[in-house]
Amino acid sequence: MNPNISQIRKDFPILSTIVNEKQLVYLDNAATSQKPIQVINKLTDYYKNTNSNVHRGVHTLSGKATDEFEDVRLKVAKFINAPNYKQMNPIIWTRNTTESINIISMTWANDNLEENDEIVVTAMEHHSNLIPWQRLCKRKKAKLKIFPINNNQELDLKYLDEYINSNTKLVSIVHSSNSMGTINPIKTLIKKAKSVNAKVLIDGAQSVPHMPVDVTDLDCDFLVFSAHKMLGPTGLGILYVKKDILQNLEPHFLGGEMVLDVSYESATWNDIPMKFEAGTPNIADVIAFGSAIDYLNDIGMSKIREHESELTAFALNILDENKYLKNNSTLFGPKNILNRSGVLTFHSDIAHPHDLGTLLDNEGIAVRTGHHCTMPLMKSLGVPATLRASFYIYNTEEEITKFFECYSKSLRFFDNVR
């Protein structure tokens, strides 16, 4: 049974917003998702009724806040099927995906990378999974290798043995590309990495919100993602670290909360995972994020993936039948629906994406235009920027039809004055 989209839409107050006198069509979900009323209510409810610092009081509210806060950690561990999470919870709260990656680059990777070691990323990484490794490799005199992609912006697996070899220390790859919609065969890459004893970091910023992701099944060493892209609040990121690494991982920030015993000369660390969370954490957003996880679980991640695949198939079909669009605009990314997410990225020679985006905005349609924080990829494709429509659980076929109508109209508008 398909999720009831019209029912779901009613949970998202912002979807009834009027923009430029038109009904909003929100297709910028890869940048950030909208929030259901359940999450918004949880956030205000926390501030109205529970607000208190965690882990440090004996009073009732502090106990309640701590319980709710830690419950969400359990929920998230279960959501990604972390092994044995009840014994040792491997979920560390950060500010966002970017911070999660930076932390690993400054701790585990900094401690383990040696001269001439290699880190492998792909040609389609978000800047946040590229720049931290650039700096680390420079400092350590290590090599950063960029796994090549083919003409459909998919990883070119014929390079697997060449790029992932006995020098490889870390493979840090995006699961689902925010700018091309490519879903990478991470299981194949993880298996290869394991065979050469390399560790694997998965950038799940665009996959965890949209499909089932199971770290036990994947056997990755790190998984990072952001709450704000999966119906949750901004300002909250997740860092999952596999147990064997977690046990020896050095804390990156030091201070209150993360210590057990402190003298003027020295300190000992608190238990995992609290030793990685110095200072007052983002309590309110964690607790509200719990409601986002509940919301996603209620629908089911497989159903969400199914819905987005159907929308994508619907979109590809429209494109296929529209001669004008086919001739005047290029869609990047895999042609096979199994390897692609609900992210559609276009380029047209007729007009710059920012100008097209302004016309779409005039009709209430929110799309992303620009380089999508993947500048090297844009340069390699020879385009300055692209126009991206990205779907989520609340989007409908009517909205996609509207998008294509307005996209064609904007192209024709600029085409006519040529």
Binding site: N20, A351, H354, D355, T358, N362, R418
Partner: protein
Amino acid sequence: MYDEKILTLYNSIIQNHSRAPQNQSPINLITHQAIAINKFCGDEVQLNLKYNQNNFNISDLQLIAKGCSISIASSSIVSTLIIGLSSEKINLTRQIFEKMLDNQNITDTEIMLLGDLIYFQPLSQIQIRKKCSLLIWKSIENIKPLNPIEI
């Protein structure tokens, strides 16, 4: 159809400037140069300039612009306006332009100075695209003398 503001902004004069910007040909002597990049979107404007002997005003220029139609068209129009103007006049033009974008009243004489830049008036209602039209002015802020390059 689109709003009035969109139709004004993307009228054929602006479109022509963006498709075929003025002052693209190389000049024979470059005495000054200016570059501005909009880090947010990657748009880029470069001005190669020839100042007259007393370094007082621009006698010739070449514009190299990459980006959206608003940044290219505004650069092209500005490039036609600034030749021969003193830097005070150039600054004044910019001030009037910014006044227009901020929805402040401008006088008829001020409008005369703006020339075709008047078509960017709708940007006062499309905040997010204002910076596209300001890139050329950013570059003008950064004009630097060069050891003259003869071409």
